[in-house]
């Protein structure tokens, strides 16, 4: 791109445009889709973005085995199908999957614990990429480590593919109460907090000053109903990822739209009640305690 008409020339891949795209998604719902038809249904329902993947988390959980980046052909077919941003997942630590996804022109990469981790110690160094990354977190320290690595957006991990919102609640509350605690500390205590959080001091101090993360905070993992989505928004989420909850339900068109409306009007029980009527079967939920610890995704990532 050549220089602008006056002033300075354009710069791509800045932290401002990476974080800025997440700002534009706020108040919205991002839906997992596995083919162009689902992507179009999601866009029609009012999704602000779609996550292109070969299997939704509920199926990954059922099938077992190693879950990897999706087929580029499938991702491209979804980019072709919709005008809203398209996200795709790379394995934790798998920088080459991320390079491939950037090359394909996805708008956001989810370095996701839903896929089988490729590195058991390190996440991707996300700073050098032009494409922005979203990463999961279960608590404030984890969120700040991901931001330090270059994540431009954070989401709660929840427990994907369960239709059970309890883990997302736990993670949202851990992040937001961790932030509130930081705002009460004095300068000396912030240094200790940084050590305890295993996060860079500068980020800890920034969060204490802002009273929020310096990036957008979405929620994910187990959201299955309009009321679930509205609850997450009331807990302080900027927006909602819905994975298996829509296309594993009885009436995805109606449920997708209902979750969008409940997210928009998250403080209005009249709206949440109206859109919750006659939605058909929700996805079948899984009690977290029945999942063996080694099969829980939220423990992946460090």
């Amino acid at each position: 791109m050549s220089a602008a008409s006056n002033g300075h020339g354009p710069v791509t891949g800045s932290q401002r445009v990476k974080r800025g795209l997440a700002d534009m998604l706020k108040g919205g719902v991002i839906m997992d889709v596995i083919d162009p038809e689902q992507a179009r249904i999601a866009e029609e329902a009012g999704a602000v973005a779609v996550m292109a993947l070969e299997r939704v988390p509920a199926d990954i959980r059922r099938d077992g085995g190693v879950a990897r980046m999706s087929d580029p052909e499938m991702i491209e077919s979804i980019i072709e199908a919709v005008s809203i941003p398209v996200m795709a997942k790379a394995r934790i630590g798998h920088m080459v999957e991320a390079q491939v996804l950037q090359h394909l022109g996805v708008d956001y990469i989810d370095e996701s614990e839903v896929l089988t981790p490729a590195d058991e110690a390190n996440h991707i160094d996300k700073q050098p990429f032009t494409v922005p990354f979203v990463c999961g977190a279960t608590n404030l320290g984890e969120a700040l480590r991901r931001i330090s690595e270059g994540a431009a957006m954070i989401r709660s991990k929840g427990e994907a593919g369960t239709g059970n919102v309890v883990e997302a609640t736990r993670h949202m509350r851990a992040i937001t109460s961790g932030i509130r605690r930081l705002t009460q500390l004095d300068a000396a205590e912030l240094h200790t907090a940084a050590k305890e959080l295993a996060a860079p001091y500068d980020l800890v101090a920034e969060v204490a000053e802002l009273g929020r993360l310096p990036v957008v905070l979405f929620t994910a993992g187990g959201i299955a109903t309009p009321a679930d989505a509205a609850m997450m928004m009331q807990l302080g989420a900027d927006g909602v990822f819905v994975g298996s909850g829509i296309f594993k339900s009885g009436d995805p068109v109606k449920r997708g739209r209902a979750i969008v409306e409940a997210t928009t009007h998250f403080e209005d029980p009249e709206v949440v009640a109206r859109v919750s009527r006659a939605l058909g079967e929700a996805m079948v939920g899984i009690e977290i305690d029945t999942i063996p610890p080694e099969q829980r995704y939220a423990g992946r990532g460090w």
Binding site: A4, G9, K26, G46, I84, Q102, R180, G211, D238, T264
Partner: protein, 219 residues
């Protein structure tokens, strides 16, 4: 006051600033997008921002911001919230409005290609192409001068930005161009831009909206 997504955590200085009751209320369409950034921008230029999600909230405002976000999602939410018709009426009556990115798309009289079917209020005589620069990897920051804006070049982020492909009426004033395409325009009470000054923390175009609102209130 209605909460915004994520606002519970906001302690940014100025967020709770007292503003006199005679300062006009300016709405920020709060269905989806970067509502909070526009709220901060309006506060920074001495206006009283209020989120608009219902027709009753729209009735109370003297001007409005249509924020950045996903234009398809905002268009659908406008209809589902019963705001589409009342908003179109207020805009036709000359209510001052500032639109950024998705907001400009919703104000455009024509959209290129199939997007022209997107329900929207319109009112700005331009033809606009959505996502004209490519995927997110082509999003960019740039600085340039804007006509009528003092104090040096505007800080601007273009995020999956639209491009104004044609100006359809001589009453549309081009305030700034990048690579030969208008990026900031004004037509009567409408100020619109394809970029995001609010993401860069540059509030000078919001001050222009404030001038329009105060001029309208004094009529």
């Amino acid at each position: 006051m209605t909460r915004l997504p994520g606002e519970r955590l906001d302690r940014r200085p100025g967020a709770a600033a007292d503003v006199a009751d005679d300062v006009p209320l300016v709405g920020v369409l709060a269905l989806q997008g970067d509502v909070l950034e526009h709220t901060w921008a309006l506060m920074a230029v001495g206006l009283r921002p209020v989120p608009v999600r219902t027709p009753a909230q729209l009735d109370a405002v003297a001007g409005i911001v249509l924020p950045g976000g996903e234009s398809t999602a905002i268009s659908r939410a406008l209809a589902r919230s019963g705001l589409d018709a009342p908003l179109a009426v207020r805009l036709r009556e000359g209510m001052p409005v500032l639109g950024t990115c998705a907001g400009l798309i919703l104000l455009s009289d024509e959209l290129t290609g199939e997007d022209d079917a997107l329900p929207r209020p319109g009112g700005l005589a331009v033809r606009t192409r959505r996502n004209a620069y490519g995927p997110q990897t082509a999003s960019f920051d740039v600085r340039f001068d804007v006509a009528g804006v003092e104090g040096g070049p505007m800080e601007a982020s273009f995020i999956r930005a639209p491009r104004i492909e044609a100006v359809l009426d001589p009453s549309v004033e081009v305030l700034a161009s990048v690579e030969g395409a208008p990026v900031a325009v004004r037509q009567g009470p409408i100020v619109a831009m394809t970029f995001h000054p609010e993401v860069a923390g540059d509030h000078r175009l919001h001050a222009m909206l404030g001038d329009l609102v105060r001029a309208g209130a004094g009529r």
